[in-house]
Symmetry: C2
Subunit: 215 residues, 2 copies
């Protein structure tokens, strides 16, 4: 994965460009155009397109050609719902394995998140690292990978709206509450905080997207 700088960087860049709306939305992407644009052949483009299709960034457009998946309120809600069920679940497996080392690392990440000068992307990245470092302690690769996949799909929505601002203030509070509960080995409390945390963030996003689609 990391040892193929060529295709890997292409993958990263294309994803970034989708995030940043650098590519035409609601319009079939043509392999040759992309190939020319990124200075490679169609073969690696095809690979990356398929990968992004599998991750939910692109969808089949008619019989041939793919287009950027539109951001729907319902999809956001579904992704959030799934996370609300699966993340507390993996937390149950993680809790017994949470060493002070891990908890300390998680706290460092929260401190870093308190920095006010973070870009939206950096913010999302740190946020995910916080959650991921907890979940990884569960040693449940299959469950973890599904959650990773859900997060990747969610990441398209992050930064799409500017509720990120107040998101951060309330969200950080919940993060610290969660960490405290974990330190005290209060599983059920931690789970309910986490579920609430995910629901909260989704609530704002969904209502925003619904309002967006009305006019």
């Amino acid at each position: 994965m990391q040892d193929k700088p060529m295709a890997q960087s292409l993958y990263e860049q294309l994803k970034q460009d989708i995030r940043d709306n650098k590519l035409p939305v609601a319009m079939a992407l043509k392999q040759e155009e992309l190939a020319a644009q990124y200075g490679v052949s169609r073969i690696p483009i095809r690979d990356v397109l398929q990968k992004l299709k599998n991750e939910g960034w692109l969808v089949q457009s008619g019989k041939c050609g793919v287009m950027i998946a539109s951001l729907s309120a319902q999809e956001a809600e579904d992704l959030s719902l799934m996370r609300q069920y699966l993340e507390p679940l993996i937390l149950a497996y993680a809790l017994p394995n949470l060493t002070n080392n891990i908890l300390g690392h998680a706290e460092d990440l929260l401190v870093a998140l308190d920095n006010k000068h973070l870009s939206v992307t950096e913010c999302g990245e740190l946020n995910w690292q916080f959650h991921a470092c907890l979940y990884q302690a569960a040693n449940r690769p299959t469950l973890f990978n599904t959650i990773v996949s859900l997060h990747q799909q969610c990441s398209r929505y992050i930064g799409f709206h500017n509720t990120q601002l107040n998101y951060n203030s309330t969200s950080q509070g919940e993060h610290y509450q969660l960490l405290d509960a974990l330190k005290n080995k209060q599983l059920e409390l931690a789970q309910s905080i986490l579920k609430q945390h995910i629901a909260q963030a989704s609530c704002q996003l969904v209502s925003y997207l619904q309002a967006e689609n009305k006019p």
Copy 2:
């Protein structure tokens, strides 16, 4: 998807061959060998391999090459756990939309499942169709697709053990109970039956796989 008979059939066949243990396990698959074996070039092979990797049939083997994913008890348990949470969830969305037409179709599928002369593959297929036709009524593509993906990963385990026999007798009973609860619009009952149904099947499978790995 269906309009590319070439790559599509290659995909189906490779999957089938993995199910039937026609391919070497725990050994890197070589693109050229596969290409020669299936009478095509490496390009479509690469496409199919990536697709199967994304669906969990294959895993990266070291730095280059992919191998058939081994069936672990933990993975089976994780997949089942996720289904236990997500399938009752989608059922909640589906219930209001379950017309008599859909319920009738579901019942037909159960009747077909009562046939004793079904192959393991056919059995698994009908079983999935029963669940899917209910879930599809939810009109929740994102949630549904994740569940589909989980089922695809589970399908590798189906037919791996011969507990399919008594699985069918108890499983069918649960199916009919579920259908009755849905007919009566008893959501919570239906959800608990469904969760139990998934847990039940997984329990046997996991203990079987754990026993398998001991000696």
